[in-house]
């Protein structure tokens, strides 16, 4: 049988997803036995023009990572969708918007102003911004402009599968690749990763899940490495986060930050949204010992150190949260 064609691309991303492919090591050889890599800017000298020259659906599988932050991201997403049979949102950014999705808490203008005018070391007397069409000594130079807000991949093109994680864990990628290679294609728009939550994989012991008060990691004089971090008052996103990473961060005694996104929703329970899920859980178990007598003020105090719920709950999923972005009123 003839080899399939595979492409890797990054949009608004950090490159971690690329490295996670490189980290497949030997597995990479196996991939190369089944696929020719026809586009991979990070590792190969193939340019956009080469892709434009391809036939529609010439690429069998396209692994697309990164969020849709600027016009170029969107244009290439549309291009690759056209050229690919199967489009896979690869990694948190394309899956849920990722950390750059936090940009949705500010407007495009606010971002530009901070970066090019306000930041401490800036030297910008004319107060200029990079602007989408500039004339530099008579040279017309186009530069893609930022979109008003960040989107996930499936907000701009149809996505066939998702591979979650920041970056996707090697095992998850391997299983996904093997599934694709094996040819028995799972139902469309499925997340190619296990369904339960990080707690399911986490080795830490649970004694009494009641949380006295929320603590910041530096406020805890020492972290008991054997005990559930949530119990110790740390806001661990594990309970609201899909498994597959082997509870990587908790294993390093740090709370999960939720990069794998929400677990698969129960078909009956519609949208399984990380933030909604987690605040409900954490608030319900905080300061509940003798809850009947706890005053409004105590409750507030117990939850007080949760200073930035949105930033924590949606660290990787703001554009896919129900409210999607900050509004103004």
């Amino acid at each position: 049988m003839s080899k399939g064609k595979i492409a890797f691309y990054w949009a608004g991303s950090c490159g971690g997803c690329e490295v996670s492919i490189v980290d497949l090591d030997e597995m990479l050889f196996e991939v190369l036995e089944h696929f020719d890599i026809v586009f991979w800017p990070c590792a190969m000298d193939i340019k956009y023009s080469n892709v434009e020259d391809m036939d529609d659906e010439e690429i069998d599988v396209c692994f697309f990572n990164g969020c849709i932050r600027n016009e170029e991201n969107q244009a290439i997403a549309e291009l690759l969708r056209k050229k690919s049979k199967i489009m896979i949102a690869f990694g948190s950014c394309s899956h849920l918007g990722g950390i750059p999705g936090l940009g949705n808490l500010s407007t495009k203008e606010e971002i530009l102003e901070q970066v090019y005018k306000k930041s401490k070391s800036i030297y910008n007397e004319e107060g200029i911004y990079p602007s989408n069409s500039v004339d530099d000594h008579g040279n017309e130079i186009e530069i893609p402009s930022l979109r008003e807000h960040v989107d996930a991949l499936d907000d701009v093109v149809e996505v066939d599968y998702y591979i979650p994680g920041c970056p996707p864990p090697a095992d998850v990628i391997k299983t996904a690749l093997l599934t694709l290679i094996s040819g028995n294609i799972p139902p469309r728009s499925e997340v190619l990763a296990p369904n339960r939550t990080v707690c399911h994989e986490c080795k830490k012991e649970k004694r009494d899940i009641a949380v006295k008060e929320i603590k910041r990691v530096y406020q805890l004089d020492d972290i008991d490495p054997n005990r559930c971090l949530l119990e110790q008052g740390l806001l661990c996103m594990g309970p609201a986060t899909r498994e597959g990473c082997g509870a990587a961060c908790p294993s390093a005694n740090m709370p999960c930050t939720g990069c794998m996104g929400p677990p698969s929703a129960d078909p009956q329970s519609e949208n399984c949204e990380q933030g909604a899920r987690m605040i409900s859980a954490i608030a319900s178990i905080t300061d509940v010992v003798d809850e009947k007598n706890s005053e409004e003020e105590e409750i507030k105090a117990a939850l007080d150190e949760l200073r930035d719920p949105v930033g924590i709950m949606y660290m990787y999923s703001m554009p896919k949260s129900i409210l999607k972005r900050r509004r103004r009123e």
Partner: protein
């Protein structure tokens, strides 16, 4: 006036393109390196809980998440005025060295290296890791992958995962290596020392047999006179984790040495309309735009910048290699392609340091991992040498531990002006009289790949 474009620049991290403008005789008038992306970390990190910064900023770059993670945590040490215990620093260094090796090897074998190892005339579709595998065989390929993997494994041991680990806590770390793990690291270190020597020999043999490179390396088109910057220890040797920042001029004279917390007095960032990348410059000299001149504050960081801003190496084998470098290129050396050799020398240097640390068992295995923090002091600056050069984080944090201001100057950003100038020079030489075939275009990219730029980082 016509324009040719290299889009995207390939085999590096992040988005970039080169726009070359030619006059009517087909000679290059000017060339632009453009970074078309911006995510806006300096804005959306504001109002976040400060303890999350090591993880937030590590996702500025997935190729070099560790230096961001560590620079960030060093910044928070200062924000809370909580100097970490020695043992914690040792853990951080283990992780940092692991990263350093992984990253440099990634560049030599996957990103920039193939240009050298496969030669400039190698067809584009083969000019990559796959080409390397084909050319050097599966065994070498496996060696390469194994040793790169070692770096990743050390990071994973401490941070749970190799990319975007979780590990740093203000005033310390959350996790430490076990004696068993330290044994493994020692074994890895020894093997890495050998492998870096192998890589060096590979490089030298390649350069000497390839006539394009042997000439190109020393040619003017691939050289640039500018200032240099790097972190140094008290002997002015490169220190990759901590120390003062030293700047030297094109002749190698020290122009200033300062504590990182004073960086604002010495470094400014200029803005140009055609790119999202900012252009840092040495303030005392000032910013004159994209021109190669003694009176322009353009400087370089990363292996070459470090080499020029420092004197010798702290470890025996690397120091020996350094001597050979000096014999060949002299010090200072303004030849862009020299980046590769120096980079491999650093691999050796870091492998040796990793081994030293692995052998200092008391330091690594005994003592506290955290200095308890009490109150937020307010501002903090954290600085570290990433593979690609000096990395500066600068935070202001309020009493609730929320971020109030963020300023980041990232290695590739330091190099922004230098890279642009190198490209223009290469383009002017390689694409004269309208020659624009692929290889020549690649020779333009060659100039910039030597820097191992990371554009994701660069604009963040």
């Amino acid at each position: 006036m016509s324009m040719i474009e290299i889009n995207p620049i390939t085999r590096l991290e992040g988005h970039g393109n080169i726009k070359i403008f030619k006059d009517d005789n087909g000679n290059v008038d000017s060339a632009y390196l453009q970074i078309p992306e911006l995510r806006g970390f300096e804005k959306f990190c504001m109002d976040r809980q400060c303890e999350l910064m090591p993880q937030l900023t590590s996702s500025i770059c997935g190729v070099c998440p560790i230096p961001h993670h560590l620079a960030s945590i060093k910044t928070l040490d200062n924000v809370f005025n909580a100097p970490p215990p020695e043992r914690a620093v040792a853990q951080r260094k283990l992780m940092h060295f692991g990263y350093f090796l992984e990253d440099h090897l990634l560049h030599f074998y996957f990103l920039g290296g193939p240009d050298l190892l496969l030669g400039p005339d190698c067809p584009p579709e083969k000019r990559n890791i796959i080409g390397i595998i084909e050319k050097y065989g599966k065994d070498v390929a496996t060696e390469i992958m194994e040793h790169r993997r070692m770096g990743q494994d050390i990071i994973k041991i401490l941070g749970g995962k190799a990319i975007h680990p979780a590990f740093g806590i203000p005033g310390g770390v959350s996790n430490a290596v076990t004696p068993k793990q330290l044994d493994d690291i020692e074994v890895m270190a020894r093997s890495l020392v050998k492998f870096s020597q192998f890589s060096l020999s590979l490089y030298k043999q390649k350069i000497h047999e390839d006539e394009f490179y042997s000439t190109a390396v020393v040619s003017d088109e691939y050289s640039l006179d500018c200032y240099n910057m790097g972190i140094v220890n008290d002997k002015n040797q490169p220190d990759y984790y901590d120390g003062d920042i030293r700047i030297t001029d094109a002749e190698g004279n020290e122009v200033i040495k300062f504590h990182p917390s004073e960086y604002l007095d010495h470094i400014g960032e200029a803005v140009e309309k055609f790119s999202y990348m900012k252009f840092p410059f040495y303030k005392k000299i000032g910013w004159k735009g994209l021109v190669e001149s003694k009176d322009n504050g353009v400087y370089r960081v990363g292996p070459l910048g470090r080499y020029n801003a420092t004197t010798g190496y702290s470890t025996p084998l690397a120091d020996k290699e350094g001597k050979e470098l000096e014999k060949t290129f002299g010090r200072p050396c303004n030849m862009t392609l020299a980046y590769h050799w120096i980079r491999l020398t650093e691999v050796l240097n870091v492998s040796e340091q990793l081994l030293e640390l692995a052998l200092d068992r008391d330091l690594v295995l005994e003592g506290d991992l955290r200095t308890p923090v009490n109150k937020v002091v307010g501002r903090g600056v954290g600085c570290i040498e990433a593979a690609r050069g000096t990395l500066i984080h600068d935070y202001e944090v309020d009493q609730n531990g929320l971020m109030k201001d963020v300023n980041l100057i990232v290695p590739t950003t330091h190099n922004a002006a230098a890279i642009s100038l190198s490209i223009t020079k290469a383009a002017q030489k390689e694409i004269d009289q309208g020659v624009t075939d692929k290889d020549h275009m690649n020779r333009v990219e060659l100039a910039l790949r030597a820097y191992d730029p990371c554009f994701g980082c660069a604009t963040h």
